[in-house]
Each structure stands twice: as C-alpha cells, then as structure tokens.
Symmetry: C2
Subunit: 149 residues, 2 copies
DNA sequence: TATATTCCCAGTAAGCCGATAGGAATTGTG
DNA sequence: CACAATTCCTATCGGCTTACTGGGAATATA
C-alpha cells in the first residue's frame, strides 16, 4: 500500500548521490570555466553504475529532475549533472512534486461532491487530512536531512 | 501521487454507510433473532445504489471486509451487512490494512540493503519516516471520527 | 418451492510501469 | 575537422495491476 514507484526511488537516490559530491561554488572566482570544472559534475552513467540502476531509465529521470530545476546539466564531453542549489534548500516535497506531481490520494481533493454525499462528503475530509499529514512530513525534510540522517 | 485505489475508497464509503445506521445491540435481549432483526442490516445492493458504486464490484469488497472481521454478514433472504463493533473502536489503519495490506512505501522497509548503500541506506530512513507519518495519521482516526468530522 | 441474498471463481479491457532501443544535439579534445 | 563522450528526445514493448462483469453455487426466509 502507498507504494512509491521505482522512478521516484531512483530519482531520490540519484539526488542523494549528487548531494554527497556537492561543493559550494566559490563566489567571484577568476574564471567560470575553472569553477565549473571544480564543481564535480557526475555523469548519468556513473550514478547508474554505482547505484545499480538501469542506465537508460535513469537518463530520463535526470532529464525530468533538470526540467524541475533541481539539477543542472552540463552537456557535451566531460559533461554531467550537479545539484542546482545546496541540499538544505531542496525540500523533499519539491522532489516528489518534480517526479510525480501533486500529492492527491483521491480525485476529490480539489473538486468535492464526487461521491453521493454531495458537498459535505465525510470521507473527503479524511483524505484531506491524510494528504496534509503526508505533505507535512515531506516538506519538513530537506535533501540535507536525508543525506546525514 | 499516492493515489488510493477505488477499491479502498469504496470500502470506506461502505463502512461509513454502515456506521451511520449502526445501533448498539441491547445486551441480554430475550431472543437473538429479534435483536438481529432490530440490528439494521443493510444489503450490498442498497449500499451500491445510494453510493453509486458498481454492485458486483462492491460485493467482493464487502466479502473482503468481512474476512477481516470488520463487518458481519447475515446470509440468505433479508440478509445484509452490519458493523461487527462500534465505529469508535474501528481504526482507519485497520480498514486500510484490511483492504490493501501493510503500508509499505518501498520494498526495503523490512529488508534493508536493497540499494547500493548497503546496510545503512540513507533514503531508507526517509521512507521509514514517511511510513511512520502515514501510519500515525491512520491509526489516530477511527470510523467514528470520520462519520462525524 | 420461490425468492432474496451472500459468496465464490473466472475472465476481460484498459491503463500504467519499468525498461529498452535508436539516434539527434551538444561540447570538449587532438 | 574528426572523434568521442555525454545529454536529450521519441517511440516501443511486455508484464502487471486495476476496475469491472458474468455465471452461478450456497444459504436462509417465507
Ligand atoms: S467526494 Fe470524494 S469521497 Fe466523497
Ligand atoms: S535499501 Fe531501500 S533505498 Fe536503499
């Protein structure tokens, strides 16, 4: 019950991997190229290897994470991925949202009156409470909390 | 994300329906038959009709609920279902467990070491925390809380 | 016997999920 | 420029789950 798809598990493991090799970019460095070079980009293939994830599958997940602005990609040779910002500023609710969209236990979280009870549906409040509990936990944890738990 | 199957939603709506027509059995009544007759059994078909649920589908769900001991069935003519005990003694975690089994966001809630990190896997603790948050909410609510929320 | 009901088992259509394949676009390097 | 390494895009496939339907057996009442 409430099983999380592997897509999400893989995404989080990839982010954890990136977070562990994250170093702050030194401000006002002499050249951007050197700063980027020092910035420890990790290739998708390397993450897939050390985490034992299907390489091609992981590629798509990283693209998705990039589209959400959580990671930054350097294309071309010697390219790879790095975190877009420090791990303590990335809430796990953002990660879940990027990989799976809004937490919605039942369809009637937004539009009520789906079931027979009409506007004031009893079960609906129960589901809304569950959503609040889940969202509360997810947004209370950051990627930093996960990597040094 | 975290979408709950209709099976579970239907099951809860059926239980809510039964809980609203639940009356305490008078203790030491003269005859069991009269007590049962007064006990407001509701047929599966009636629940399906007023809740607008596929009748045949709901039948199976009620059988499942009965197997878990949450409802009691009277077979034969004039039969139907009733709650096996007062709504305030039925935790929603029991209901979820009956309909879907244990809350298990990822497979590694029990056996660790599935992912590369070995025994002390970081993401795993995060998932365990999520499971605790969900379980905590579910076991804090009873069927009574749901029907008079 | 007739009727109403729970109960059991089987099947089906559609959708999702994890994974794979092939290649285009981009960028550093000799 | 040629090559290699990498991100990125699109399409597809097999397997599994889900929601639902159907047919009827068992059970109880009248
Ligand atoms: S409106 Fe969603 S359960 Fe009633
Ligand atoms: S053991 Fe489950 S995520 Fe690592």
């Amino acid at each position: 019950m409430f099983s999380v798809p592997t897509r999400t598990q893989y995404g989080i493991r990839a982010l954890v991997h990136l977070a562990r090799s994250f170093v702050q970019v030194p401000l006002s460095s002499d050249s951007d190229e050197e700063a980027r070079g020092a910035q420890a980009v990790v290739t998708s293939a390397e993450i897939a290897r050390t985490e034992a994830i299907s390489p091609k599958y992981l590629e798509g997940i990283l693209v998705q994470l990039k589209a959400a602005g959580l990671v930054v990609a350097e294309r071309g040779k010697n390219g790879g991925y790095r975190l877009s910002r420090p791990p303590e500023t990335i809430r796990m609710s953002d990660v879940i949202a990027a990989l799976e969209g809004e937490v919605r236990p039942v369809d009637c979280v937004e539009s009520s009156g789906v079931c027979a009870q009409g506007g004031s549906c009893l079960p609906r409040r129960f589901w809304l409470g569950l959503k609040a509990a889940i969202d509360g936990y997810l947004s209370s944890k950051t990627l930093r909390d996960v990597i040094d738990a």
